[in-house]
Symmetry: C2
Subunit: 399 residues, 2 copies
Amino acid sequence: MDAVSEERRARAALARLMEPSDWVGLGLVASVGPIDALRIATGALAPGNGLEAELLRVLDRRSGQPEQSMLQDGLQRWAPRVKDLAPERDLATMERLGGQLLVPGDELWPPALADLELGEPLCLWVRGDPALAVPPANRTVALVGSRDSTNYGNSVTGDIAAGLTQRGYCVVSGGAYGIDAQAHRSALAAAEDPSLPATMAVMACGLDRYYPAGNEELLRSIAARGLLLAEVPPGSAPTRWRFLQRNRLIAALSGTTVVVEARWRSGALNTAHHAAGLGRPVGAVPGSVYSANSAGTHRLLRDGSAVCVTDAAEVAELAGPFDALASSTPQEVLADHDGLGVEDLLLLDALPVRKGVSVDKLVPVAGLPARTVLAGLGRLQARGLAAQDGSGWRRAQSS
Amino acid sequence: MDAVSEERRARAALARLMEPSDWVGLGLVASVGPIDALRIATGALAPGNGLEAELLRVLDRRSGQPEQSMLQDGLQRWAPRVKDLAPERDLATMERLGGQLLVPGDELWPPALADLELGEPLCLWVRGDPALAVPPANRTVALVGSRDSTNYGNSVTGDIAAGLTQRGYCVVSGGAYGIDAQAHRSALAAAEDPSLPATMAVMACGLDRYYPAGNEELLRSIAARGLLLAEVPPGSAPTRWRFLQRNRLIAALSGTTVVVEARWRSGALNTAHHAAGLGRPVGAVPGSVYSANSAGTHRLLRDGSAVCVTDAAEVAELAGPFDALASSTPQEVLADHDGLGVEDLLLLDALPVRKGVSVDKLVPVAGLPARTVLAGLGRLQARGLAAQDGSGWRRAQSS
């Protein structure tokens, strides 16, 4: 086995041995590389004398554990899983499913994940067309939200997902019920560019299963035309911890994260906070103040962690300059009196709607000198706002 | 006539001669005082040689007019209205209506208007119980919005106005249809403190008329239990200019301004911008992204000029420390797993829901060393999250 494939095999094994964001495990890999990290973690190699100190240096203050026992704690944590290690079997499973394993350094490894620093995943399991690559973060937008979404939330999600897809963005979500499913569905329906994943679902469980079961058909479609991603190996169950850690991957893979609907406490807010922590822009969709499903998005708007977004164009504006089609501002409908100076505005107010009046009568009503009235009437007439008839000056029909 | 009443009379006359925010007129009053300003404006007193220079100094760069003719322009603007001046008549009209005239320096003059600097109104015409004073700005909140409000907007306005009134704030609005009317109505319904105006309506027309006619009954109620205010004298028609200037008074009288519903272009946004210009906090109520009546509030949220507010408590928080009853944060419903450490969370995820399992079986599932599992099971049991039965450990019923 060459060094490259041995490293892949080691990362695949470590991903089963260690939970996502196991800081000691990640620090160990950062210190000695994945191959020796696996040897140490499985007890095949004794840790060198300086390793504990090196780990302390690498982890800085990231570890909440008592410093002395950090590595020992890790070894005890990993030991019970050593007997289950079978990276070749996991790699074969993925291959059979038409998937692949990505590791840092691979050409297709998403560079945006490096923003997670030490929290960068050990590897990514990917299911989907092997010709499809994870798009760069400036072309991806995460749309996340409640599982128990409302009709309103589904509708907004559908509009935004379709609009973003039409603009060439790839919509990322978590493959769950509700907002996630609607985002994926609308992206699949709107996608036309075969060189881009129609949508990407980042899962909290192994990619050998479709979870939740009610989304099986949807997840199959994503595997066919988009990408399914996970950092946990095949066979992994979706636990609460893995959901929380999965949210950091959604945030890290996406240049922009938008929360469409979220209750006061919601996993979608966790994704938003991960995104904010990475310095990525976060959007939140407003809704009724009476909807519990908008309490979380309003909370994000209120505390300033998210920008108010109401349609795909505004999300595209938030996502930045990649977008060529976005237009953030509705066409301004110019009112008749736009751009008028104060005096002309006063004069327009003074003009009668029906029967015309003389300039002499306009002067006191408008509170303007006669020459200003005369000049102003000319300007208003030129703009079609004033008209002159036998009885004098009045507003033109159009005003 | 004593000096005090002569000044009141002069300001009453100037308010008819000059439109609101007539900078030259206001500069003239600032330069020579209201009595001489009236003499000069009416041609009874020739302007001194240094007056034009003094005006330039007072107005700084506020005037958009060519500097040389500033005073002459003013004189020509005011001249046509001189023949209509009848301040004693206006004062008598107000007295007959049970109203009064307030001028700067009066004990009841709202000090918050001084923030308008040179734009402070010449005087305020007030209708209502003479025992009622305009409350200080930290006890007043403006609720403004569309005339063509939706049921949603009316409902939110009603809730916020009632909640603010119950908290001891005075609700200010513009007496118009829609959001304004709903704000006044709900404040009247909720008001219980007879020492405070039940609500205040700042009008764009003279207080001798009830405008708009459809709100006559409401405006009568406000005159009975609250206050009607205007800077224009009795008999003045509500013109576009006066509406725009009226908005600055709403903003200046209110410590906080909240826009409940506003279209993309709306007078309510003008009020919000006045408030922001005065450095006063501005709130905006979110709504459906499909409602044209929320496009303006979303615009304020999006450009950062307003804070998202969804109920009276959040408005009260924005308004600041006067409020004793406000509570900004809904009671957090603690989830079972709140406050658990990472290891206990992993352990909780690993616990089966139905049949108990041994610690040996939990160890590899949780990916934790045996002693951590044992300690964690103790903690989870203490929190009612884990239970032990004949077959081993499982989640407790409540989790």
